[in-house]
């Protein structure tokens, strides 16, 4: 008989998991003689976590950031506290970063984060309140400014200026990509690296260029089994195998193919041509972990709300 597995994921992983699911199903059948049917759900990372908390029957979640996954524990006790220790690399089988996507020939001559605060530049990013990717965007910019200008105040001011240049704030990463790519709005799109590649390689060959900023954040999209659900459904084995499979060489290559940075250094090396070197900083180092970051920046009354208020006041 068939096992059903539900993978609740965030927006930009669609293409990756479509291919990985096929690979895994094949693998599982070969090894266990059992067919597995993997169902996918995609959306903004936060909204997906919310659905799982409210009862969406996910066996595994593969979200954009640890905070959203941790919400499954904090709000519904679906996973144990040590969930992030269960798999290598903070449970992130692949990583990514935030880059800048500009139009072909880089007409606005955008080279680094500093160019995003120029008056003549329009910036596209989704809304950090609802999009996981956007929170990485925000934190990347903040981290850059903190390093460059040395103070929290300066970083605040910098990020405020960036968001003051944002004309459209889509709820999720994919909407923002569409806005920049399809509708031609904005001069620079702060984007997941993988989304940026997708745009350059597939959506509009020759129409876009990737600009790698001097520093950026190391984005670790984590994965986990949803213990409460798999135990109830009796799918733990296959669910765990599904996630562990992500660390196999084949899967790591798939991740690379879909422009995620493989966590396995050997496989990563195979893709070194594809991924430029970036000066990374990590969320734990700069922001003291996701909980604190979320609390300081994104929760109601956090820095981001103040930034929005300031922008509205100055407009």
């Amino acid at each position: 008989q068939t096992v059903n597995l539900l993978n609740v994921s965030y927006d930009p992983t669609r293409e990756l998991y479509r291919e990985y699911n096929e690979w895994f199903a094949q693998q599982w059948r070969d090894e266990h003689g059992q067919s597995v049917n993997i169902r996918q759900s995609h959306g903004g990372s936060g909204s997906q976590a919310r659905s799982v908390i409210d009862g969406l029957d996910a066996d595994v979640v593969t979200l954009a950031l640890a905070y959203d996954v941790d919400a499954l524990r904090q709000r519904a006790d679906l996973i144990p506290a040590d969930w992030q220790e269960r798999l290598p690399g903070n449970s992130s089988p692949y990583t990514s970063t935030i880059v800048l996507l500009v139009r072909a020939g880089n007409p606005k001559n955008i080279q680094d984060w500093d160019d995003l605060v120029r008056d003549d530049v329009q910036v596209i990013t989704p809304n950090p309140k609802t999009s996981g990717g956007a929170r990485w965007n925000y934190l990347a910019a903040w981290g850059y400014a903190l390093e460059e200008y040395g103070s929290e105040e300066a970083a605040f001011e910098f990020v405020e200026k960036v968001f003051a240049n944002v004309p459209v704030l889509d709820p999720a990463a994919r909407g923002a990509t569409n806005t920049f790519v399809q509708r031609g709005i904005g001069d620079v799109f702060i984007s997941w690296e993988n989304e940026a590649f997708l745009a350059v390689e597939q959506l509009g060959r020759g129409q876009f260029e990737i600009v790698v900023p001097s520093v950026s954040i190391l984005a670790e999209p984590p994965v986990t089994v949803v213990d409460a659900n798999v135990d109830r459904k009796g799918t733990r084995a296959v669910a765990e195998a599904y996630l562990e499979g992500l660390y196999t060489d084949d899967a790591q290559r798939l991740a690379g193919k879909h422009f995620y940075r493989p966590s396995n250094p050997d496989i990563a090396a195979e893709f070194s041509d594809q991924f430029p070197d970036v000066n990374f900083f990590g969320i734990d180092d700069v922001f003291g972990g996701w909980d604190k970051a979320q609390n300081d920046h994104f929760n109601d009354g956090g820095h981001f709300d103040t930034i929005l208020e300031n922008i509205a006041r100055n407009r």
Partner: protein
């Protein structure tokens, strides 16, 4: 003036030219033309152009691509789910619409205006709020969540939840078409039928129903279209499981978010096509009926 008079006298039986005289209920030709022009321009901008966008988008890359997009398994499943939901929701709403219209139109009771307002409410409630309501009620963190999971009942993120929010949002359509119609019809034909010995059910079937047939069909068409097209509420309670809980509008959004614009428009074109076909059927039949002079 004098010239006109003399010519009139010279040939007294000349035909009066229409241009010299303005009918009391009509506007001058130029006003008429401009009004038609403005109205058509407005409708083109707001109705025809979006329609064209969908159709052009759908067929831009040829019929083959269109066909592939609408027969792809996820699309098929979205279509199937949508039709399933419609097949549940529309009949329930027909029954509700007909019964509530019967009660409201044929009987006097206290609180009638209040009841009518209640029926109207879903028109005005944001779909988003509707979705939220059912998450709060049936979500696993919600009030009935524990009980539901204890009994292994899945409402939201499954077909029942989608059915419920769509039924909620489309509740007024049929009732609102029928109530004024039945009120206007009055009770005399029903009374006539009863005096002729017919039972209540026969009276309803042979007399009431044929009289409100077109209102009912129109209501069904609208209810059906709305049920197929409901987005905001479904987006919140569906869980967006590909091939499983994605209705057509959600599937369209998925496709759009996967940069498959042609496919998105192709699936949209099915919904649009269904809407157009039902609208076309409705007006053809109306026209036929007018021509045979049953209503005059």
């Amino acid at each position: 003036m004098s010239e006109l008079n003399t010519s009139a006298q010279a040939t007294p039986v000349q035909l009066n030219r229409a241009a010299e005289w303005q009918r009391a209920t009509e506007e001058p030709e130029w006003v008429r033309r401009s009004l038609i022009g403005i109205a058509l321009a407005f409708l083109s901008a707001f109705l025809i152009l979006p329609l064209l966008v969908v159709l052009v988008g759908a067929f831009e890359q040829g019929l083959g691509v269109w066909y592939a997009a609408v027969t792809e398994p996820d699309a098929r499943s979205a279509i199937r789910l949508t039709l399933l939901v419609v097949a549940i929701v529309v009949p329930i709403n027909v029954v509700f619409g007909v019964t509530v219209a019967w009660a409201v139109a044929k009987f006097e009771f206290h609180g009638k205006p209040f009841l009518i307002s209640l029926i109207d409410m879903p028109f005005a409630i944001s779909p988003v709020v509707v979705g939220l309501i059912f998450v709060i009620l049936f979500g696993s963190q919600g009030w009935l969540g524990n009980w539901l999971s204890a009994h292994d009942l899945q409402i939201i993120f499954a077909v029942p939840g989608i059915v419920v929010v769509i039924a909620f949002g489309t509740m007024p359509f049929i009732a609102r078409e029928l109530i004024p119609l039945m009120q206007e019809q009055g009770k005399q034909e029903e009374e006539a039928s009863l005096t002729l010995g017919a039972s209540g059910l026969k009276t309803f079937w042979y007399v009431t129903l044929p009289n409100v047939k077109w209102g009912l069909i129109y209501g069904i068409i609208l209810c059906n279209a709305r049920a197929m097209g409901e987005f905001g509420a479904v987006a919140i309670v569906s869980g967006r499981i590909r091939g499983e809980t994605n209705t057509m509008p959600l599937h369209i959004e998925v496709l759009y978010n996967e940069y498959m614009f042609t496919a998105a428009f192709a699936v949209s074109s099915i919904l649009t096509g269904l809407a157009l076909v039902t609208i076309a059927i409705k007006s053809t039949v109306e026209w036929l009926e007018q021509r045979t002079g049953v209503t005059a």
